[in-house]
């Protein structure tokens, strides 16, 4: 039994082919990151139009790499929530059309739940129940995941997502796009203790995040009272120290809230998804914390962390339960 899955929730157009026993036969992502770079992180073209242009070639490539034909597909899956509604609709409409044309069932998958499920794919075995952290450009949230399909929100960010904070601090420091890797590289040259940046909610049990105050603190440490007419600082020890201290604050805040979530839920597994989990400092800190707490840490390889369609293999769980979507499957922009 073969599944074809589509992902168009935000910037990436992606398709994947996998089997009913979770073997990923292909996973294709038409990354626009290279296109974004010259524009400093600005979307060069509206996502939905880019998805329209990319989707059919990406599907063809996914089928080709899996060495299967469209006629062999037995189920079509699509991320239908959350995301930008116009972007989601491209994938949802294409998935519906394919399901009808092929006469096969359609399954709608939650993109955030799929990020956690990527850990199940990477582990190659059941990982539930677990605490799930989804940390990316669009999300920074903790969940209690009793099953692959039941996500209970433990805490969310009040303002910026962690990946967004990396991008915006990269802009403040003049480090360009993509912010995550650039700040991480700069941080390696600096002292993470040079600046005492705030860790929001570090002294209470609330499982919430806030990175906006941190952004302002970086702005002030960088420019002092001249924040309103600030230009990025030149390369040098100060810039490196700012990057290192910023990254340390984000990593510590994420790690602390994961530790609190493990303790509060009494669960012993932490599954981490989303593009920020590529950050090595975060991986090391989570790894050390989990070792100390006696918990197991699961972080997938990079291509399963960032937005992709393979993680929509969560559809296999829904297929087993007979949870199929009707022809009126809608794009649901809201996360909560």
């Amino acid at each position: 039994m073969l599944f074809l899955a589509l992902e168009t929730s935000c910037d990436e157009t992606a398709a994947a082919v996998f089997t009913g026993d979770l073997a990923i036969l292909s996973s294709v992502v038409a990354s626009q990151t290279a296109l974004h770079a010259p524009f400093g992180g600005v979307v060069p073209e509206i996502a939905s139009r880019a998805h329209l242009r990319n989707l059919l070639p990406v599907i063809d490539e996914a089928l080709r790499r899996a060495n299967v034909t469209l006629a062999e597909v037995g189920c079509v899956a699509v991320h239908n929530s959350p995301g930008l509604v116009g972007a989601l609709l491209v994938g949802v409409s294409a998935a519906k059309m394919l399901a009808v044309a092929l006469g096969v069932p359609l399954i709608g998958v939650n993109h955030v739940a799929a990020h956690i499920y990527a850990c199940r794919l990477a582990a190659g075995r059941d990982i539930f129940p677990c605490v799930g952290l989804v940390v990316s450009g669009g999300n920074t949230a903790l969940f209690r995941c009793d099953t692959p399909l039941s996500l209970e929100l433990l805490g969310n960010t009040r303002d910026d997502a962690a990946g967004e904070a990396f991008d915006k601090v990269a802009a403040i420091l003049g480090l360009g796009f993509p912010g995550g890797p650039n700040v991480e590289r700069e941080a390696k040259l600096g002292d993470p203790k040079a600046y005492a940046f705030p860790r929001a909610f570090s002294d209470d049990a609330r499982l919430e995040f806030s990175f906006s105050g941190l952004k302002t603190a970086v702005l002030y440490a960088c420019h002092g009272q001249n924040v309103t007419k600030a230009t990025p600082p030149p390369a040098g020890p100060k810039r490196a120290d700012l990057a290192a201290s910023f990254q340390a604050a984000v990593v510590e805040a994420l790690t602390l809230k994961c530790k609190q979530a493990l303790r509060q839920t009494k669960l012993t597994r932490l599954a981490v998804g989303g593009g920020v989990s590529a950050n090595q400092a975060l991986r090391s800190a989570l790894s050390a914390m989990c070792a100390k707490e006696g918990a197991e840490l699961i972080i997938p390889p990079l291509d399963l962390c960032t937005d992709n369609a393979a993680m929509a293999a969560l559809a296999v769980e829904k297929y087993r339960r007979g949870e199929f979507a009707d022809a009126d499957l809608d794009a649901q922009p809201n996360f909560l």
Binding site: C10, G41, V42, G83, G138, N156, D159, A171, L219
Partner: protein
């Protein structure tokens, strides 16, 4: 109508302004928010949403990545963020016009980047960083319905409009 200038001594003052504004927003209201990174735009939006009795405050955060977020509240809230957009045309192509006509409340971060496609009759809030915790808010009405809102807000906050 003259702009309304409000000194915000700390984040709590930003919250108070946002709640007072949210309580007074009407169907079709458009609030444009400007100010540099870290000025407090998203924080103000959270407070406006709280003033609008948003059903789930935990859902209200920065839409920078996803561009548009919607929240259920006393009036439906559409929360836009133009930070990543290159032009007003791109913003228009997201279908934002439909939101302006939908009878909810539209809150637009980084509005100056897309001012050309915003309704002229709107409330513009510009936040300026004046210290690590303090901000200056300048509120400007672009047309009659939002001028009435601004007058009401000024009276409620017991401030005097000033140039």
């Amino acid at each position: 109508m003259l702009p309304l200038t409000i000194g915000l001594a700390d984040p709590a003052a930003t919250d108070a302004l946002g709640v007072a504004l949210g309580e007074r927003l009407f169907a079709g209201a458009v609030v444009a928010l400007d100010g540099q990174l870290g000025a407090g735009k998203t924080r103000l939006v959270r407070a406006v949403a709280a003033g609008l009795k948003v059903r789930n405050l935990a859902a209200v955060n920065s839409p920078t990545f996803v561009l548009i977020q919607e929240y259920a509240a006393r009036l439906p809230i559409a929360h836009f963020d133009a930070y990543r957009l290159g032009s007003a045309r791109e913003f228009a192509e997201l279908g934002v016009g439909e939101y302006f006509e939908a009878g909810g409340v539209c809150l637009v971060e980084w509005a100056a980047k897309v001012a050309d496609v915003l309704p002229a009759d709107r409330l513009t809030v510009t936040l300026t960083v004046t210290g690590p915790d303090s901000r200056l808010a300048v509120l400007t009405a672009g047309g009659p319905t939002h001028a009435a809102l601004l007058a009401e807000l000024a009276a409620a906050l017991n401030s005097t409009p000033s140039g």
